[in-house]
Symmetry: D2
Subunit: 406 residues, 4 copies
């Protein structure tokens, strides 16, 4: 540690006593991550109101009560309608699978609550449209609806957006985005609900591709207007876990196999509104790549590059420099002047994955209290959904270029 | 995000209701970091007792009350003796400057409390010896005393220790350690108490060098037995901040300058007990290096390398492989089987600086509840102090090789 | 330098006196690179016959004589038919633009000469077919015809092919290839013949894309069977250099502009015969990327990655290792057991770009003297041509998936 | 390949017919590398006179004739005095072990020949002094004497020197240099003459340390004025190869062992004339490090970093930039404006180790023909020798700081 700025005299203002009551639906992995965000934001940032972990909701009473105790929630509910109805809940945070997002989000908005909804916004464009409409109506009443594209809250990416907005890259030419993981490389990895189209919507596309589509549009500041896609399921049957049931191949004694109905990998090219070319790859079959969300954007005046496995770093090439001394520089995005960083640690003392959820919680609070436009909004989530639908359509139609409405 | 393991059915056990009452002295930068550790550990790890943030202590009542509110402490005290005396405090966490460590730690131990003390353990070997003796007496009564060398709790380094312990590196030949920062490069950077020998003990040596000495001895599993050192203060006078007083050069109108009385940089070589050679460099004058704690250890069978600016990664070279396919591999130390990782996020979803304090809190609790030997102990802190003293002696004696007692 | 293996006693066998007379057509950049290859191979490798730089050919007598003197050729010709006819020429090395390859290569083969032809093999599939047929006829007479995909001769890539052939990657899932340069980023960069479709055939696709298509098929050991492509010319008019003539926009006083008729960038996805998915990007508009030919191949058992800007390195991930110690390792492909390396310098003393031409010269000689099958052959060059044609067809047809005959 | 600048019209001037006759003594590894340099320089650079490989000299007639044929030398000699006496030799290139440098170099200079002498200049300070004196006398007669610190000719390092000279780093604070190899890690690696003090002078210190001392002084533009050192021989006995004789331990049947009488590793700290601190490590026991000559220099305004394993790259941090966008940038030192690069390949098409010898040959020719001061001179070689002697003295005297005369 390098204690370089602290002094005991550095008196901080007392934090506020006002709170924003949060009610969370779902308590699995995303629930844990969101809990950490809500618990921490008020202790780190100067916020006008502090998030209060009012109640958590799940179907199994024992499980949800254990989760409440574990993650620090004051109460537990087993019916999400009851959660929405609670007086101590001003914001509903939806961490359930995608097929339930629309119903819960719309109900919460209509009940006058703010909403934060995990990505992808929905499993279909129709649901997403209904949600975006509900959000627009609620906005008129002063309510906030945000979608959980948390990687926008990685300081290096928030800062990259600022650089692009400031014109440091000039006219954009290329966006290059991959999101590579490897947890399905082993063909004996079991068949879970995430490999079932009915429940998960899609595979790598919705899980990983949604993130890079959102980031590409966010960073570029413009939508994708068309795509050409190819998709593959390399391992078409996988072992069924004991207890699972329908549609099995083979015996029920542990050698049973069931069909994988989602994509292992989806690749697509596309065009942004400005004419820049983009490429995307989402896969869970890239051996050795654990969380390789990699982005590069090339413009007429410069380029940026990013790798989520090194999330405190941003690479930047300034093409206006003399060629002899130009090169991609590794910016450690840990300076107090960088987005979100003033509240954290000294330069070089990096942040991690979960900080995106703390920043998200911070942004939700500020958006509500300052009456800002939500970033990312349900409209942003809808636009991503439209891209994903066009990708699926193109993949089904021999990769033909497919326009994205916007 | 890649939600790949979660299921709503994954019921967690309810956490315990028993708590470990923590009382913290000091609330500057380290206080914030420790608070984050205490607040989070019980929500992430399965612990038999949960840390409770009982009370925080500082001299200025308004300031300490603001800090208590900000960081989540239940009470505030202005006298550390009162803090120690509280019934709801079972562990005293000392985050004050080094010159007060000995008095507070010994008093707390004699009052029957467990102690966690920030590094360096003390400003002098004599103080550190008294503390280690007090810790030994307290251990006989079942009390725990640990020193806050938090970088031992970076999973990549904990795992590196395991690899070395398991013999993956064979007989050690070289330890190469630097800790480079750059916040004093600007000669107009002001004179703070950290540049005053009376208060800070030493400069880069105690602040940065202490960490790499501890890590070298921890990872190698053996002490340094002698050192040869050189030290420098490049900028010998710096501007005095308004309000400061004695020993100034020049006018009092903002152009006043005062003497820097600690080292800007200290370099030393050394030998480990096994005969391996080591080199160390601690500096705050390495332009562009923000937090470059870099370690490399070479052994007869392999090597490891680490850089704190990329703390989720460990480089490992296995020298027993065929030469054609051998090379330093980049291990992402984010697998569930890695130290501390089972409680955190999926592979590739990295941790940050502050997680070392969560892990430290976890270790303190487990050490107390399981009756384990504390790691790192006050004896470890004392040994570091002896090395630092030998370094200063060598630097003062024309770099002559100076033995380290152990 | 680390002189570690040399001894004055290490007597080398005397090199042979037999030679292979080389006649080279063209003497621009590629001519210089090939000359360096021919000059050096016999001094570095133990070859049964040594290349002799017999004659060089170009249209301008003064220029070709200067080039001969500069690059070390014994004679100069101004008519390529005369070059082919020379008795001291056993091999014709074709370094001219693509539109002349077919005529020269076929004539040389029919005259009984061996041929090395720069890539791409031709500007059209029809030409390439004729060349492959001529090569097949010549092979029956014991003649060798090779195409200059020199990057196959980068030791790291030759070694990567060996690893894949040996099954270290298992069943392939993904090939990911980009070739990024930035010399057309500036819109004021002038219009040269390379931006003229009539002469250059295509732009980034033929120049850069040809290399990555060849490497993908070479490394995977299987052909691409279909592609879906998109192409773009971002800067459609560029300044015409003084002296140029037809089709100008604007005045003739230096502000004249002419149309760019080739692609600035082409992206495509594809499928290999085994079902693996591939992606390709060739561009000259990626600011800051100078020569970024990057390849990654993921298989069921492991992955490799490569970057031409660091051509002495190969990254390899062994997915059969325990997850805790697995990771991409950086193999320095400079060990004596690596391809071509026994003849060169000690480990870690890297090679450069031009060594690919020395290795190519070595391979040509060995292929001739040992009666091996040429690698890469004209048939390989033809297959690349078919892929490029399918890419252009797909780009013209709204990116629809277009099969590649093979 | 990216043929981007060539045009067939780009006529080159015819090269000169005048030559510089080179006579080389020694023909092992260094001889091969120097031969490549002499053979290539005149074909790549525009030189007023071209090196001619006149004669090579070694003691064993058959071996030296084979070497002459292999490496392209016109004649062979077995007596270095005869080589010096040849009329067709204007420059003597000395590639023998260090103990013979002084005698040959002085004789050549006194015979009126130019001299290039491999590093280290000599095995003792006294020899080096005699050589520097002979060089000074010869300089008055218009002769050139250079020492073969070839790494100064790596374009990235030549360019780094320019940056420092231009003040881009400001006042220097730190020089950090390591040269790590691993070819002695295996304790069964045999005892060669290089491990024999009588013949080799020293071990890692003279072989590797000499390079980093020279580079530190060259880049900083100032000498080391004092050092403090520690040295170690980890493996004190090694197997003797069949045929070797005296001083053996154990049986003569292959289990015989002999004493290693040089250092496996030497570490030292030092001060430059300006007061900057420096650290050095030279070792052949760093498992996994093949040729890791790494340098970092920190100044008040910026820093540079370099790694010989990636010799086409220079890292540069500009500390005058805003903190938010500053960072170490990776400059590919392959632009035509970079030192030596105009003669080579397009940007990003890297060079290798052997190019340092081509550049050295270029510099020798230019130094002679333009009457420049030689860089590096025998005086520079002498200064390195003085540092090495001070290092050995300090290591022998308990690491005490030992001044370096200059």
């Amino acid at each position: 540690m390098a204690r370089r700025e602290e002094t005991e005299q550095e008196t901080e203002a007392s934090p506020p006593t006002a709170t924003l009551g949060v009610g969370m639906v779902g308590y699995a992995f995303m629930g844990a991550a969101h809990s950490q965000g809500w618990r921490t934001a008020g202790h780190v940032f100067d916020l006008p109101v502090r998030p209060a972990l009012a109640a958590i909701c799940g179907r199994d009473r024992a499980a949800v009560e254990a989760a409440a105790a574990r993650h620090g929630w004051a109460a537990a509910e087993t019916d999400w309608r009851a959660l929405i109805a609670r007086d101590d809940v001003q914001l509903v945070d939806i961490c359930t699978p995608g097929d339930s997002h629309a119903e819960i989000a719309i109900a919460a908005l209509e009940a006058g609550k703010h909403v934060l909804c995990e990505k992808p916004l929905a499993n279909t464009v129709a649901e997403a449209e209904a949600m975006a409409e509900a959000a627009a109506r609620a906005a008129a009443r002063g309510q906030v609806a945000m979608v959980g594209f948390n990687y926008r809250k990685v300081p290096a990416l928030t800062y990259a957006r600022t650089m692009i907005e400031d014109g440091r890259l000039g006219a954009l030419r290329h966006v290059r985005a991959t999101y590579l993981q490897d947890w399905l490389v082993d063909p004996e990895s079991p068949l879970t609900w995430r490999l079932d189209r009915e429940r998960a919507g899609s595979g790598a596309l919705g899980d990983l591709g949604a993130h890079i589509v959102d980031l590409a549009q966010y960073l570029a500041g413009e939508p994708l207007v068309g795509v050409s896609a190819v998709s593959e399921t390399f391992v078409r049957e996988r072992p069924v876990l004991a207890g699972a049931a329908a549609g099995l191949t083979g015996a029920a004694d542990g050698t049973a196999r069931g069909a994988v109905t989602v994509d292992d990998a989806t690749l697509f090219t596309g065009r942004l509104a400005s004419g820049a070319l983009a490429s995307f790859e989402a896969t869970r079959m890239a051996a050795g790549r654990k969380n390789a969300l990699r982005l590069e954007i090339n413009g007429e005046l410069g380029s940026i590059a990013f790798d989520l496995e090194r999330l405190n770093e941003l690479s930047f090439h300034d093409h206006t420099e003399p060629a002899t001394s130009a090169g991609f520089r590794r910016i450690l995005v840990t300076e107090p002047q960088h987005p979100y960083l003033e509240a954290w640690w000294p330069p070089g003392h990096g942040l991690g994955y979960e900080h995106t959820f703390v920043h998200q919680a911070h942004d939700v609070v500020r958006t509500i209290t300052e009456g800002r436009a939500p970033v990312p909004s349900f409209a942003d989530g809808l636009q991503v959904q439209r891209v994903l639908a066009a990708v699926e359509e193109s993949a089904a139609k021999n990769s033909v270029h497919t326009p994205v409405p916007f």
